[in-house]
């Protein structure tokens, strides 16, 4: 560990097992570092997991699974791709990925913001939930796989489709299946057969435009691009039919 | 037909006695026979035995295998195993005296052996572990053969009968050792199998034991996870393995092993200092399955000395005494007085309180 000044710390992750690496990160934060830069990361899990505070974590390399799980505050910036389970059950904070990510991004995420420059895997935004002033936000620049926003109970999913695999639709099948809260904005069009049976497509209103403008603006702030151009395209808004999709499923014996 | 030890669990009550010279001076088996004979009424003629240390000064580094064979067939089959696994220095019958009382004795043989070098290297084990595994294999896989003892410069002499008769049968008055332990057995049901008599041994360890423990199956099932095979299904066998695991395999000090087997009550922890408290708590947490519950008194012998211990509730009797370099333990004080009329010190041993006798200059068993 090299300490360049009191508030910025650099850690070389090369060859470190995650337990050791995360101990070093926690120690640096406990010693008062405002910024911790971890370089040569390759697959180390749990970076930022369970951490609270306002510090900034910079991750260079391929971030391992469960980056920022249960995280409560902090800003994590990844220069590289992320793997699976990023922002798992995240409570607050910001994660910015200069690259793409794997599956299950933002599972059960409750608050905070995640920005992904590229595309994401399957089951992204699954069971995200909002509550009082806590509204989690996921903004994805590329495309998403199937089961996008499955069981979604709250929060905002924004899928831009600016990049991603040629010939693939912007989102996979069963989009929003089991959704019973929150909202999704998908740029362009989504085929009816791709939607879960619990969601419906509605028109965007003024307030939606405002929300989109705010988060696309932040996306552009992180990764560059022209917000006006992005917002110019048509968007689809998806919301659940109701908060009680399974209200009549059961009868008592 | 009655099932023997190993085929069924046979509980038994008993008498035990031990005599040691801490300077390592050897003495004949005469005293130990008198001592155990005095407690004749604590056994019922269905088992008696002795362990003696320091008796083979001519072969101090060889493993002395005392063997019981049902017949020549089983001896020959076992000897094939011996030849494959050991270099045998000397082998032959253990001399016995014809007596009226002892009948149905098996073939009793003795071999002084060393592990076969190439086999030992191939196994990747230490010599002791190699021998221990061979012994357990013979006892569980060779019908009709039983290893009565397998340590260095020591041996077990046991059989079906009263202990004083067994002592006479084996001519123990002609052997000289610095540590002798003895056992008179009171089993509740046994067909009278020689292997089932005490002491039970493994390598240098020998145990004589009195009492039926209630924790047997909890102890056994724990020990079996560490590679032990409790083929005799006796308490003594399980207690021996417990000591072997803690002292030899885990390298723990004797007082820690004693803490595991006869743990202090939780209520006693309040009166301990923090370091001791942490240690006892850790022992009771990690080795909880080795707590020996129910009545027992034991003498665990080794080449370095012995420890005598009884259960933490003091459900079995145990008395100790000292005179000069000699230290004595027995189920009854009279058994000590019989061979040492005026000891320097006599005391009744408390529950869970070990009596330790070690050779001069040695600090662990």
């Amino acid at each position: 560990m090299t300490i360049s000044n009191a508030s910025a710390v650099a850690i070389n992750a090369q060859g470190l097992y995650y337990k050791e690496l995360n101990e070093k990160i926690r120690a640096a934060l406990a010693a008062g570092a405002a910024t911790v830069r971890v370089h040569s990361v390759n697959g180390q899990r749990y970076i930022g997991t369970g951490l609270s505070g306002n510090a900034s974590l910079i991750v260079e390399g391929t971030a391992g699974n469960d980056l920022g799980a249960y995280m409560n505050g902090l800003t994590v910036t990844v220069y590289g791709n992320g793997q699976d389970g990023i922002a798992n059950t995240m409570n607050a904070g910001t994660i910015v990925i200069h690259g793409s990510t794997g599956d299950t991004l933002g599972y059960a995420m409750r608050d905070g913001e995640v920005y992904v420059e590229g595309s994401v895997g399957f089951r992204v935004g699954i069971h995200m939930k909002e509550y009082q002033e806590k509204v989690p936000v996921l903004v994805i620049g590329g495309k998403a796989g199937s089961f996008f926003g499955e069981y979604m109970a709250g929060g905002i999913l924004i899928l831009l489709g600016l990049s991603g695999r040629e010939g693939h639709p912007i989102v996979g099948d069963f989009c929003g299946t089991g959704m019973h809260g929150g909202v999704m904005y998908i740029r362009g069009n989504v085929e009816e057969h791709q939607l879960g049976k619990e969601v419906k497509v509605v028109e965007l209103d003024e307030q939606d435009r405002e929300v989109l403008g705010k988060y696309v603006g932040r996306y552009v702030g992180h990764f560059g691009g022209d917000a006006g151009e992005i917002l110019d395209a048509p968007f689809v808004k998806l919301i659940p039919f109701n908060k009680r999709p399974y209200g009549n499923l059961y009868v008592g014996v | 037909m009655l099932l023997r030890e190993g085929q069924i669990r046979i509980p038994s009550g008993c008498a035990i006695s031990g005599i040691m010279n801490r300077d390592g001076e050897v003495f004949s088996g005469h005293d130990i026979i008198r001592s155990i004979a005095l407690m004749h009424d604590r056994s019922n003629g269905l088992g008696g035995g002795f362990a003696a240390y320091g008796i083979y000064p001519d072969y101090p580094e060889h493993y002395a295998l005392h063997m019981f064979f049902e017949d020549d067939q089983s001896r020959e089959a076992t000897e094939v195993f011996f030849n494959n696994h050991f270099d045998i220095e000397v082998g032959g019958k253990i001399p016995t005296r014809k007596t009226v009382k002892i009948t149905n004795a098996p073939l009793i043989w003795r071999y002084f052996v060393l592990p076969k070098e190439n086999k030992l290297v191939e196994s990747g084990l230490g010599a002791d572990e190699y021998m221990a595994r061979c012994v357990m294999r013979i006892n569980s896989e060779y019908p009709g053969a039983f290893v009565a003892s397998s340590g260095k410069n020591m041996g077990a002499f046991k059989g079906v009968g009263y202990p004083e008769e067994i002592g006479e049968f084996y001519k123990l008055d002609t052997y000289k050792g610095y540590l002798w332990t003895a056992h008179g057995r009171f089993p509740t049901n046994t067909p009278g199998w020689w292997g089932g008599a005490h002491p039970f041994t493994l390598l240098d360890w020998s145990i004589v034991h009195n009492g039926e423990i209630s924790s047997y199956d909890a102890n056994r099932r724990y020990l079996e996870m560490f590679g032990y095979r409790c083929s005799l299904q006796t308490d003594t066998e399980a207690i021996t393995y417990a000591f072997d695991l803690l002292l030899r395999k885990h390298g723990l000090p004797l007082h820690v092993a004693v803490t595991a087997l006869a743990a202090p009550f939780w209520s006693a922890l309040a009166r301990m200092d923090d370091q001791q408290k942490a240690l006892v708590k850790a022992v009771r947490t990690v080795y909880s399955s080795l707590l020996i519950n129910g009545p027992f008194s034991i003498i665990l012998g080794s080449r370095k000395g012995f420890v005598a211990l009884n259960d933490r509730l003091k459900l079995r009797s145990l008395v100790a005494a000292e005179k000069g370099a000699f230290i004595y333990v027995a189920s009854e004080e009279s058994a000590i007085r019989e061979v040492c009329a005026a000891p320097d010190k006599v005391w009744s041993v408390g529950g869970g309180e070990p009596v330790i006798g070690l050779l001069k200059g040695v600090d662990q068993l």
């Binding site: 995650y18 337990k19 899990r45 749990y46 369970g50 609270s52 469960d66 799980a69 249960y70 995280m71 389970g85 409570n91 299950t104 409750r110 699954i126 069971h127 509550y131 806590k134 499955e150 069981y151 109970a153 809260g181 009680r244 999709p245 399974y246 209200g247 499923l249 059961y250 009868v251 008592g252 014996v253 | 009492g211 039926e212 209630s214 924790s215 199956d217 909890a218 102890n219 099932r221 079996e224 560490f226 590679g227 885990h250 723990l252 007082h255 743990a263 009550f265 370091q275 942490a278 240690l279 022992v283 909880s288 399955s289 707590l291 020996i292 519950n293 129910g294 009545p295 509730l313 459900l315």
Partner: protein
């Protein structure tokens, strides 16, 4: 009145000579069985709404009420019993999945009742537990293979352990499924008796943080109320993979039960359904379980044991072994007779295996793999009395969870309607006028008394066996004998038949 194909389940029998028309029954019954008939100036009732919870019977000051099973019977038929005929009528009318509360009520074998305990006679002494020390202390958590001692001191601290004064804990029942007063009662009883209660998957209400040292916080697939402070709040964390009453099925707390307090605790909007997915969507394979276990250990800096709760299913031994190797410090097995607030009936009554067989198989398998001593085993799913606990320990458990038994201590009458949210005993409900019927001070006393009584009985039985520390019973199957069991059952249980 609409036409029904079925008769009511119960008849309310009101003794008109005794009834004083005081209307207490009207106020007590949340199912609205009793009603004041203004014109007739008398209390009347609707049998069809009665769930036989005995609340009215026991609160009637005149002892005027009796509830009886409705006497009409279908023509006797061993195949088409009342249950199947009535179920079909209900499903034909609604097109819905049958739902029930509590554990299965079918007469499956209860192996506890086919196991007998030993006692000492002559060859070793029984111990008098009233006057001699009798220790029930148990530690749950990961144990090393061996201790290392340096200079008479511990060379390494032990991994974190839960310290139980008796081998019984209160199993997971979530806030939402049960009332806050129920949870408070159990939390206080756990604190008083030196044991633990598990939050279930509904988060930890602010008022219960003070009992954190006696709390096991649960993380289930819905991740309700899971945040760093919650993970830190308890003494251990339990990952819920499955539940005995409904293995392989997710959870579903209806929006009616999500009032302000539940919403705050679960951190979801008021009135919305709380859906727990069937799997954890970050666990699709055993190596993913390891990832979740270690994410929780990382988040709490390895200061808390992590338990994994799994339902007893066919391949339970291999699954438990996998969980142990994935890093679980405590493995909780919930048998298929275990309770629930709501489960699809057909799943509840036909999926999974009994806890006794699961426990015996898991304990033996972990021993065969020489890893049993490294982890702790907690079992649940119809632990009905102290001798069930003793038998479970002898089969190989470290401790038991009780759920239904604890609720019965608080007044539950096992009417199996928990899912309705109208529990007249104030247990499985969030309605303030009902929850206030259970005073947590009284409830804590009742639950603590139950543990106290069972602890006495356990000590009696241990003493009889000549054992004075619970650990000497753990896995001590020689203390058990089977009765009326087949060779195969005895083999799986690892016990001999009585008389052997």
């Amino acid at each position: 009145m609409s036409f029904h194909y079925t008769t009511p389940d119960f008849i309310v029998d009101r003794d008109e000579r005794r009834c004083t028309q005081c209307q207490i029954c009207v106020r007590q019954c949340a199912n609205e069985v009793h009603r004041w008939h203004e014109r007739g100036r008398k209390v009347v009732h609707d049998d069809r709404k009665c769930v036989n919870c005995h609340r009215c019977v026991l609160t009637c000051p005149a002892d005027a009420l009796t509830i009886r099973k409705f006497p009409n019977e279908y023509r006797a038929n061993a195949n088409w019993t009342d249950h199947y005929i009535d179920s079909i009528y209900k499903q034909a009318a609604t097109g819905s999945v049958l739902l029930s509360g509590m554990g299965t009520d079918k007469p499956y074998p209860i192996y506890w009742d086919h196991l007998l305990l030993n006692a000492s006679q002559v060859t070793n002494p029984s111990i008098d537990p009233l006057r001699e020390p009798m220790e029930l202390k148990t530690f749950l958590g990961r144990k090393p293979d061996a201790l290392s001692i340096n200079d008479g001191k511990l060379a390494e601290a032990l991994p974190p352990q839960l310290e139980l004064d008796l081998p019984i804990m209160f199993g997971a029942m979530s806030f939402g499924a049960v009332s806050l007063n129920t949870m408070t009662s159990l939390a206080r009883a756990a604190e008083r008796m030196g044991t633990y209660f598990c939050t279930g998957e509904g988060g930890l209400h602010r008022d219960l943080y003070q009992y954190g040292a006696h709390t096991i916080t649960q993380v289930a697939s819905g991740r309700f109320g899971v945040h760093p402070e919650y993970l830190e709040a308890g003494a251990a964390i339990e990952i819920k993979i499955g539940q005995g009453a409904k293995p392989g099925i997710g959870g579903h707390l209806p929006g009616e039960k999500v009032g302000m307090d539940v919403s705050l605790t679960r951190m979801i909007p008021e009135g919305s359904d709380a859906i727990s997915p069937a799997p954890h969507h970050d666990i699709y394979s055993i190596e993913d379980l390891r990832q979740l276990i270690y994410s929780l250990k990382e988040a709490t800096e390895y200061r808390k044991p992590v338990a994994v709760k799994i339902a007893a299913v066919h391949n339970i031994a291999a699954i438990a072994s996998g969980a142990a190797r994935a890093g679980a410090d405590i493995i909780v097995i919930d048998g298929f007779r275990g309770g629930t607030g709501a489960a699809p009936l057909r799943t509840r009554d036909s999926v999974g295996i009994p806890i006794e067989l699961a426990l015996a198989a898991v304990d033996q398998r972990l021993r065969d793999e020489s890893i049993r001593h490294q982890v702790s085993l907690v079992v649940a799913g119809t632990i009905r009395c102290s001798s069930d606990v003793v038998k479970a320990i002898a089969l190989g458990a470290d401790a038991c969870y009780i759920g239904t038994a604890a609720l019965i201590a608080l007044g539950c009458h096992v009417c199996q309607n928990c899912y309705s949210g109208k529990c007249n005993w104030g247990i499985a409900t969030q309605r303030p006028e009902l929850t206030e019927r259970l005073d947590p001070d009284v409830g804590a006393g009742l639950a603590a008394n139950l543990l106290k009584a069972w602890a006495h009985e356990i000590k009696d039985m241990l003493g009889g066996m000549g054992i004075n520390a619970l650990e000497s019973l753990r896995g001590n199957r020689l203390m058990l004998r089977g009765i009326g069991l087949s060779e195969k059952e005895l083999e799986i249980l690892g016990v001999k038949h009585a008389g052997e």
